[in-house]
């Protein structure tokens, strides 16, 4: 459910309540107003009814007064009775009666019993109006009959008038009485009707209010129930949702576990691939440096091979001359022994010439030099091959106690062809203890650093510049330190931070793999040693290697080196992150 719908629904809910309340208030006010109105009418009714009663009374009073006057005039005058009192009563009664009657007829202020002014409303119902009309019809002539009596200022009333009046009054009064009585009754009936209506309205109002209340209540309960149901539903839905979610969660957890397993497998595979490719890279770096070395070594071997071959060829070329001289001399000697001396003189002369020619042949004259040279060349080749063997130390792949000075010398001999054209090497070897290490690997380190130094000195900066590499070794008993420094081009600070990173190279593409120094770093790390570098641009570079005299591998478990693990600790492919 969106926020908007929610708002709308709550607004409609409130509207319902508002409508109900408004309805309730309107109803109440309506009932109240009706009550007021009808109450006011009832009050008026009471006045009307009261006055109607008075009319009855007045009509009788008129009759009474007329009779009194008649009696006083005819029978009671002597007794001191006067007619002006009843005549006064008659006048008053007649006036009030007429006034009241007019009030019923048209609605006006009249005097009540206590002679207080009160409003009399016009007759309401048809019947009442009819009664009023009829009363007026009766009253008119009656009043005319009464007029002379009332208006007579004399103490007496004309008898004829009096009798006439009495007869008339008697005749009409009953009608008048009936009419006023009927009016009274009618008014009462109207009032009662009104009261009934009021009651009806009141009870209707109560019923309606109650109805409204119940409707509201019902509605409210309905809403409440709906709400409850909704909540129920919602909570049920929630529960379902929670269940579903839990299920989902469990599924995704399972998936995650699966994924994790896959990932682990993948990581394992990748690691293996990485290791393989790293191994390949290291191998290719080895091949690259080997290639570089091969170029130098091929030259180193081919040069002595060249002069050895040349020398031997030169000597071989003299061989036939030597043979013929020897043959000639043998022949001469044979002739001398046999005493064949006929042409001995020619023979000796020829011998002399041949010998002279032979000795003039530089290859013969200097054959000893040539042979010495050949032997020296052989020695050089032999030495070189031995060095190669020492350097690679393929027969010593495991740890061995060696003198590092010897290792450096081996590397120097291997790198000789690279170094000799570029730099002068100074050795300052200290008295260092033998350390247990992988000699082939450390030799690789020395060779790499030496070749780097030589290459750093390749471009002479100034006239008279001479490349110089200084190798120092010393020990403080705990560790052996090897320093290889040069006065070459140096390394800038930003490059210095990266030189041990794999694949970092400043050489052009194809010339260096950028692995040389990272492999150096790994090898030194494997020996629990440290390698550091200091350099200044255009002044030179100094590499410093520190190797502990006691390596941790020596302190390793007693079975170390007995059983081969999947990946032997000393495998060159088991590399640590740099």
């Amino acid at each position: 459910m969106s926020q908007n719908e929610k708002k709308n629904s709550s607004a409609s809910k409130y509207r319902e309540i508002l409508i109900s309340i408004t309805l309730f208030i309107i109803l109440d006010i309506g009932v109240l107003l009706m009550n007021f109105f009808i109450s006011a009418q009832i009050k008026q009714d009471a006045v009307n009814v009261g006055l109607a009663g008075r009319q009855q009374m007045l009509s009788q009073k008129i009759v009474k007064s007329v009779f009194q006057i008649h009696f006083i005039q005819n029978y009671g005058q002597g007794e001191g009775r006067r007619i002006d009192v009843p005549r006064k009563d008659l006048e008053t009664s007649a006036t009030i009666f007429e006034q009241t009657l007019m009030g019923y007829y048209e609605g006006r202020m009249v005097l009540d019993q206590n002679l207080e002014p009160v409003y009399l409303s016009k007759a309401e119902t048809k019947r009442a109006q009819d009664l009023v009309q009829r009363t007026l019809n009766v009253w008119g002539p009656l009043k005319q009959k009464l007029e002379p009596i009332i208006k007579s200022k004399k103490d007496t009333v004309d008898l004829a008038v009096s009798i006439n009046t009495i007869i008339h009054v008697l005749r009409k009064d009953l009608t008048l009485l009936d009419l006023t009585s009927d009016l009274n009754f009618e008014l009462q009936k109207t009032s009662a009707n009104r009261a009934e209506i009021l009651r009806l309205i009141q009870s209707g109002g109560i019923v309606l209010a109650l109805g409204n209340f119940f409707v509201l209540l019902f509605h409210f309960f309905g809403k409440l129930r709906e709400r409850d149901e909704e909540i129920e539903r919602y909570s049920q839905g929630l529960e379902e949702m929670v269940t579903a979610r839990t299920k989902e969660l469990r599924q995704s957890q399972n998936q995650l576990i699966q994924l994790n397993e896959n990932l682990e497998q993948m990581v394992e595979n990748r690691t293996k691939q990485l290791k393989d490719s790293q191994a390949q890279l290291i191998q290719s770096e080895k091949m690259a440096s080997l290639g570089q070395m091969v170029a130098g070594i091929a030259h180193e071997i081919n040069t002595p091979l060249g002069y050895v071959r040349s020398n031997i060829e030169a000597i071989k070329e003299t061989q036939s001359d030597i043979s013929s001289v020897a043959k000639q001399f043998g022949l001469t000697q044979k002739k001398l022994i046999n005493g064949q001396l006929d042409d001995i003189e020619d023979l000796l002369r020829k011998n002399h010439t041949m010998l002279k020619d032979l000795t003039k042949n530089p290859a013969y004259a200097q054959s000893e030099l040539l042979l010495d040279g050949a032997i020296e060349g052989m020695d050089k080749i032999q030495d070189l091959v031995l060095n190669l063997k020492n350097f690679s130390r393929l027969d010593e792949a495991d740890m061995k106690e060696v003198d590092l000075n010897t290792g450096i010398d081996t590397a120097l001999k291997i790198a000789h062809n690279v170094l000799k054209y570029r730099v002068m090497v100074t050795k300052e070897y200290g008295n260092i203890p033998k350390i247990k290490c992988y000699p082939a690997q450390l030799n690789q380190v020395f060779l790499n650093l030496l070749v780097n130094s030589a290459q750093a000195c390749e471009k002479p900066k100034v006239e008279g510049y001479k490349g110089h590499v200084l190798i120092r070794t010393f020990s403080d008993g705990e560790k052996v330190v090897i320093e290889i420094s040069d006065n070459g081009i140096g390394i800038s600070d930003e490059k210095l931070n990266k030189i041990f990173e794999p694949f970092y190279t400043t050489k052009p593409v194809g010339k260096g793999t950028g692995l040389g120094l990272s492999i150096v770093y790994q090898i030194i790390e494997k020996h629990n040693g440290q390698i550091s570098v200091q350099s200044k641009l255009n002044e030179g570079t100094k590499f410093r290697i520190e190797l502990p005299t006691v390596t941790s591998e020596q302190e390793g478990s007693a079975t170390a080196g007995l059983f081969a693990e999947d990946e032997p600790e000393d495998s060159p492919f088991k590399t640590k992150a740099v």
Binding site: G296, H299, P304, G306, Y307, V308, A314, G373
Partner: protein, 317 residues
């Protein structure tokens, strides 16, 4: 009169050996470094041949030979080295303009023949130099330049087109995707510069160049290759007598410069055929004897075969 030869090697034993082998027939000089060698070249009136090692402290052989060429152009330059790395070989072609590239260990008789041939050429060239006091410079190159014809041979049509586009505005450019096509074009047009791939389909560029030499000895060859085979480069020097050797990919400017130099060279050969080392060499090897000219009817494979045969039987490197 003995020829004067100079050996340069940082290994004294090499110098001793070569001195003993050559001192009977030559006036042998030796130097243990490039600087010492240059000193001798400057001092000595004429050194016919210099035979230098490549790997030496201080100055490598190619650099030495380059300097020697400047100081004494008629001194024939031979590189004698224990390891032919590609840079050195290509440098010896493009920079050192070497006569031969000889690997150690060498064979004395073959080296002797090579040195003898080089000495004879040097002597001839020197005589020519004496005749024309200012060789090369007096040529009206501009006039001849306009007539330059370039033939490009490459099995890769896209390469052919690209190279043609590079030169078509300056020279008359012919293209050939096969050896046969190239021979056909060369039969009817005299070509100044030949730009060829090291391997055209199945034909070895070295053999092709040797065959071309028989058809048009003055054509100056430039070889393009994407192979970094130093041995091939050595053969190109010794047998192909290639003028320039460019490793693909190269910059356009490099090829342009190479072609310009080749055209100058061609113009020089045209004006003074005797300046063509290759001709001299051929004449000296074969003597003045009748050299069978390739006839019109002769099929291309025969030319190639004969070129191959000639190379095989040559007594020099």
């Amino acid at each position: 009169m003995k020829y004067t030869i100079l050996f340069v090697d940082d290994e004294p034993q090499v110098l001793i050996s070569l001195s003993i082998v050559f001192q009977k027939d030559y006036n042998v000089l030796t130097a243990q470094s490039g600087i010492a060698a240059l000193e001798i070249i400057r001092r000595t009136p004429l050194v016919h041949v210099i035979i230098s090692d490549q790997r030496m402290p201080g100055m490598p052989g190619v650099e030495l030979l380059k300097s020697v060429k400047e100081i004494s152009p008629t001194t024939m330059r031979i590189l004698l080295t224990g390891y032919a790395d590609l840079d050195a070989v290509i440098g010896s072609i493009n920079v050192g303009d070497v006569f031969r590239f000889v690997n150690k260990p060498w064979k004395n008789d073959k080296l002797r023949e090579t040195v003898r041939l080089a000495c004879q050429i040097s002597e001839k060239m020197n005589n020519l130099y004496l005749q024309h006091q200012t060789p090369g410079t007096s040529l009206d190159s501009q006039e001849l330049m306009t007539d330059a014809r370039v033939l490009v041979v490459d099995a890769n049509k896209a390469h052919l087109q690209a190279i043609k586009e590079l030169f078509v505005s300056d020279y008359t450019v012919y293209t050939a995707a096969t050896v046969d096509e190239a021979f056909r074009i060369m039969k009817s047009n005299s070509i100044s510069v030949l730009i060829t791939e090291a391997m055209i389909n199945d034909t070895d560029g070295v053999d092709f160049l040797a065959a071309i030499r028989e058809v048009q000895p003055d054509t100056v060859p430039i070889l393009l290759s994407d192979s970094k085979d130093a041995a091939l480069a050595v053969r190109l020097i010794n047998q192909g007598r290639v003028f320039r050797y460019l490793i693909k990919p190269f910059k356009r400017e490099v090829l342009k410069t190479a072609v310009q130099s080749a055209i100058s060279q061609y113009n020089l050969f045209k004006k003074r055929p005797s300046m063509n080392l290759r001709r001299q060499e051929e004449e000296l090897i074969l003597g003045d004897s009748v050299r069978p000219k390739p006839t019109e009817a002769e099929a291309q494979p025969d030319i190639l075969d004969r070129a191959r045969e000639n190379i095989k039987n040559r007594p020099t490197y």
